[in-house]
């Protein structure tokens, strides 16, 4: 079976930096950003590759910040 490829988007302004998504991700592709959002938290950030679209981060996020996509992301110069 071909490996599922996916990616996530995190609403960094909404995020409270709780880390539950980071804890839940089975392939360890989420980390804390060094930046602050306007609430003063270090938001979670996708490392940019390796997501298998399992949805665990979406399920674990108490603030509904994460959207999970299945499929390869179009190349973009900035890592969002």
């Amino acid at each position: 079976m071909a490996k599922v490829e996916g990616y996530i988007e995190i609403d960094a302004e909404r995020c409270k930096g709780c880390g539950l998504c980071i804890n839940a991700c089975p392939v360890n592709v989420i980390e804390f950003s060094e930046d602050f959002n306007s609430k003063g938290y270090h938001p979670a950030r996708y490392k940019g590759e390796g997501c298998i679209a399992c949805g665990f981060c979406y399920l674990s996020c108490p603030d509904v910040c994460i959207t999970v996509f299945r499929g390869a992301r179009k190349k973009s110069p900035v890592n969002v």
């Binding site: 930096g17 804890n23 999970v68």
Partner: protein, 249 residues
């Protein structure tokens, strides 16, 4: 391969940011309830009754009709609504202080009457909103602001088991205790919440899901530590269990 959205937030949430502390399970439970409302296609006819407690503004976070009841009285308010408007889907969302302390009588009698209502019971073993005092559900030995040396049975009594009490009542159509501390548990919790709504929609009886929930702030833990503590300690006192299922598949 075409890109498609695999997971995104439910439309029965209003989109307003939750006012809960970082990592508080109230947010996960809100999302699950909203996902179930979406999946059952009942957004237009659902009415929620929020409690007094940290989730006092829960009606702001859902895009359904709703109100807030005086402390402990959510099921009394919901009973009136449902009897006046029997074609609506009415649910209450209540903490353990609300449902199992000041509101014990309302809870027990609504369940016993078999009201066609759904209750989401968020058990976090403390009074969250008021600063982490002992709740009836606080574990023996658990330190809270009112039990600084840990809860002692001689002085403070024992943790109250609401689901076990309600499981003796014939008016109850669905009753389960769940956790939301792992992705698998979150999926199971959603199934239970759906069944508790179906108990009402199919006119069978009262449906309640007790969700063991974290309060990282008042427990004095990080959100990840709190989840671990819940799995290691709370589930011993309050084992996750399906008590009653008269809904069927």
């Amino acid at each position: 391969m075409e890109v498609r959205v695999a997971f995104s937030g439910p439309k029965s949430l209003s989109g307003k940011e939750f006012t809960y502390c970082p990592g508080c399970h109230h947010g996960i439970i809100h999302r699950l309830v909203a996902e179930v409302i979406d999946e059952l296609g009942i957004q237009e006819k659902t009415i929620m009754v929020a409690p007094v407690g940290c989730s006092v503004f829960a009606y702001e976070f859902f895009d359904v009709d709703g109100t807030v009841a005086p402390h402990g009285r959510a099921l009394a308010v919901a009973t009136g609504m449902k009897r006046a408007l029997p074609d609506r889907v009415v649910f209450t969302y209540q903490g353990d202080g609300d449902l199992a302390a000041i509101g014990t009588a309302e809870t027990v009698h609504a369940a016993n009457r078999g009201e066609k209502l759904t209750t989401i019971f968020v058990n976090n073993a403390v009074y969250g909103m008021t600063g982490g005092q002992m709740a009836p559900t606080t574990l023996l030995g658990q330190k809270t602001t009112t039990t600084p040396y840990g809860r002692r049975a001689e002085n403070d009594g024992y943790p109250i088991h609401m689901s076990e009490i309600l499981s003796t009542m014939r008016g109850v159509a669905y009753l389960e205790r769940v956790t939301v501390s792992t992705p698998q548990d979150i999926r199971n919790a959603k199934k239970a919440i759906k069944k508790a709504f179906l108990a009402q929609i199919k006119n069978i009886g009262f449906g309640l899901v007790e969700v063991l929930s974290t309060c990282p702030t008042n427990w004095g833990m990080t959100p990840v530590e709190a989840q671990q503590w819940l799995l290691e300690n709370m589930t011993k006192e309050f084992p996750p269990k399906l008590f009653i299922d008269r809904v069927g598949d």
